[in-house]
Amino acid sequence: MWLYEKKLQYPVRVSAPNPRLAKYIITQYGGPEGESSAALRYLNMRYTMPTGRAKGVLTDIGTEEMAHMEIIATLVYKLVEGAPLEAIKATDFGAHYADHGRSLYWENAAGVPWVAAYVSATGDPVADLHENLAAEQKARAVYENLLKLSDDPLVNDVLRFLREREVVHYQRFGETLMEVEEYCRQKKIF
C-alpha cells in the first residue's frame, strides 16, 4: 500500500519557460538513470532481500524516488507550460511535442522510451545492492551533466537538491551492503 501526499518533497520553481532544457531534463523522468528507473529498481528488489534493514532501505529509498519522479515531472511541466509553440518548434522539444504535446512521457533526452531492461534484479542481494550503488553514482553524474547544460538558477537549485539525495542514498546502500555481507557470512550462504 502507498499513500499519496499532496505536496512536492522540494519546492519547484523555474525562471522562465525553456523547452530546450525540458528536453534534457526529461531523461531523469524516463531515462536509464532516471528517477522512475530508480523507484522501480529498488521497490522490485525488496522481496528477495534477506534482512529487515535491507527491506526497509529499499522500500524507503524506492518511495523517495517516486517523490523525485514527481519533482522532475513538475520541472518539465513548468518549463513547457507557458512556452509558445514557436519556441517549442525552435528546439528539440518539437519532436516530443509531435507525439506527446505538452504531456509527460517516460523517455530519455533523445526520445527513446523507457524499457524495463534499464533495471536488473538477480535475486543475489550482494549483486543487487552493488547495482544500486552504481545506479546512484550514475544518477549523480547525469545531474551534474544537466547542471552544466542548464543556466536557470531556480532549476539548478532543484537539480542540486536531487543530486545531493543520490549521494545520501549511495551512503545508505553502502551501509546496507556491509550489513547484508555480514549476514551472508554468518549464514554461510556463499
Partner: protein
C-alpha cells in the same frame, strides 16, 4: 491561484518532512541510534502540528482516511496540485 501563505506553510511542512525522510533513512541502517530516534520523535510532533494547521485551511494533504475531510465539501479535488503551486 496559490496564495503566499499556502506556499509558506507548505515550505515549513516540506522542511520538517525532509528532516524525517533523512532521519528515517539513517535509522534504517542505524536503528539503535538513540539521538536520531529522539530527533525523529520530536520532529514528528512539530510536523503533525504544521500538517493539521495547513489542512484546516487548505484541505487534506493525505487521503484514504489519513487526514480529516473538510465538513461540507470534498476539498481533495479542489486545492491546487503539487505541480500547479507557484512557490
Amino acid at each position: 491561484m496559490t496564495d503566499r501563505n499556502q506556499a509558506h506553510m507548505l515550505l515549513e511542512i516540506q522542511q520538517l518532512s525532509f528532516i524525517e525522510v533523512e532521519l528515517n533513512l539513517y535509522l534504517d541502517t542505524h536503528p539503535e541510534d538513540q539521538q536520531a530516534l529522539a530527533m525523529y520523535n520530536s520532529t514528528h510532533q512539530n510536523l503533525m502540528q504544521c500538517v493539521r494547521k495547513y489542512e484546516s485551511i487548505y484541505g487534506p494533504l493525505v487521503n484514504f482516511g489519513y487526514s480529516p475531510g473538510m465538513q461540507n465539501y470534498w476539498k481533495w479535488v479542489d486545492s491546487p496540485w503539487p505541480w500547479e503551486i507557484k512557490y
